[in-house]
Amino acid sequence: MKPAQFEYHAPTSTLEAVTLLKNHVDEAKVIAGGQSLVPMLALRIARFEHLIDLNRIEELRGIRLEGDTLVVGALTRQSSAEHSELVARHVPLLHRALPKIGHFQIRNRGTIGGSIAHADPASELPCVALCLGATMTLVGPNGSRTVDASDFFISIWQSSAEPDEILSHVAFPVATGTSGFAIEEFALRAGDFAIAGVSCAVTLDSDRRVARASIAFMGMGPTPLRAHEAESALVGTRADAVDCAATARLAVEATTPGDDVHASAAYRTRIAASLAATALRRALEEADNA
């Protein structure tokens, strides 16, 4: 037993959870899967007077198709999404990213919303959410609002959610038309946080030219980062004529990696460029063969 003392709350509705959060706002934290939060409590990197457990709120669970988005309840376990046919069919990038998170024991408990709300820049789900332009729905005392992924991730472990708001669900755009997706990452051991990683999504027009492209990096700055300049450079190019290595070199210019005990910034940049070239090539090939 390593965490400091806290008071435990187990609400059974989102409204009840939001009320609890409002009443204890400066001293409270919501806990979902706890696979990042509990280690932080155990190491006493974080300490809260109140923990508000979302695990008994059924309405925060589940995966459903709504028009052109796949809506994933924040409390949906990563393992449930990993084995969901809806996710595999409609959001292939998410389907491919999920097995890369931690280990299966972690994914059995960790949640989709928890990982996104935690906003770790080196983790897979924030990167995928940014790459696909997912939207996050936050519920607070004054109702709910929807935030685009491009406005959601503020800094390391910081999102634009207010202290009295709870992430209720994430809406991922479903794959349409002639599209391709890839995620690549490099970690020292299976399940470790990646030294660098990248996800790509491309859509081709009827002439097999790139109509839309998205390249998002993880572990390459204080938030997941989009490479807008490289994405724009791809638009209009035939899928089989893209210089993936050159595009990847341009893409990593959008990143701001740091040095740490695992890797220098320069090494991270080289790794990221190599991964981006591979991911882009795979995404383009998949789209071109679709």
């Binding site: 037993m1 390593k2 965490p3 400091a4 003392q5 806290f6 008071e7 435990y8 187990a10 706890g34 696979q35 509990v38 280690p39 409590l41 155990a42 190491l43 923990l51 457990d53 695990n55 393992s79 931690g102 280990h103 299966f104 024991q105 972690i106 059995n108 408990r109 051991r189 299976a190 399940g191």
Partner: protein
């Protein structure tokens, strides 16, 4: 800090305790139930020694507070072992293949491998390695453990 009543079905038997909210599921199993087969090493989710089945899913019991598991069912390594004291299939395979030395990490491995083989009875070598990646062993070495899983899977 006040304590909260917790009731959890452990190895098909209901167990109750009064616990501080910060007590982990592993603390409950070891201290309230006396089931010390669930080992605690890192206590922050890295080593996998405390792996148990929670409603059938392999999880790290150091990353769940016992109060969160109230009303759920848990299977520990003790619950996976025949009552006559013999070894189960996975344990015997570890024995046969030098899959343990000091044995500290072994309960976590056994529980993880039980879950792995239940969901994927004949894993490839790559799937075995992936399935074992959430458990750390610091003395035996992994080759014997991988061989044990191969034998238990009948590969």
């Amino acid at each position: 800090m006040h304590e909260i009543p917790v009731s959890i079905e452990v190895n098909a038997r209901e167990r109750r305790a009064l616990l501080e909210p910060r007590a982990t599921l592993a603390d409950f199993l070891r201290e309230a139930c006396g089931l010390t087969g669930t080992h605690l090493a890192c206590e922050h989710g890295v080593c996998g020694a405390c792996t148990v089945l929670l409603d059938g899913a392999a999880v790290r019991s150091c990353l769940i507070f016992a109060v969160q598991a109230d009303g759920q069912s848990v299977t520990t390594v003790e619950g996976l072992t025949p009552e006559d004291g013999t070894l189960n299939r996975v344990q015997q395979a570890f024995w046969n293949n030098h899959g343990l030395q000091c044995g500290f990490c072994t309960p976590g491995f056994i529980v993880s491998v039980e879950a792995l083989l239940r969901d994927n009875p004949h894993p490839s070598d790559e799937e075995i390695r992936e399935g074992l990646s959430g458990n750390l062993c610091r003395c035996t070495g992994y080759q014997g453990i991988i061989n044990a899983v191969r034998e238990a899977a009948g590969n």
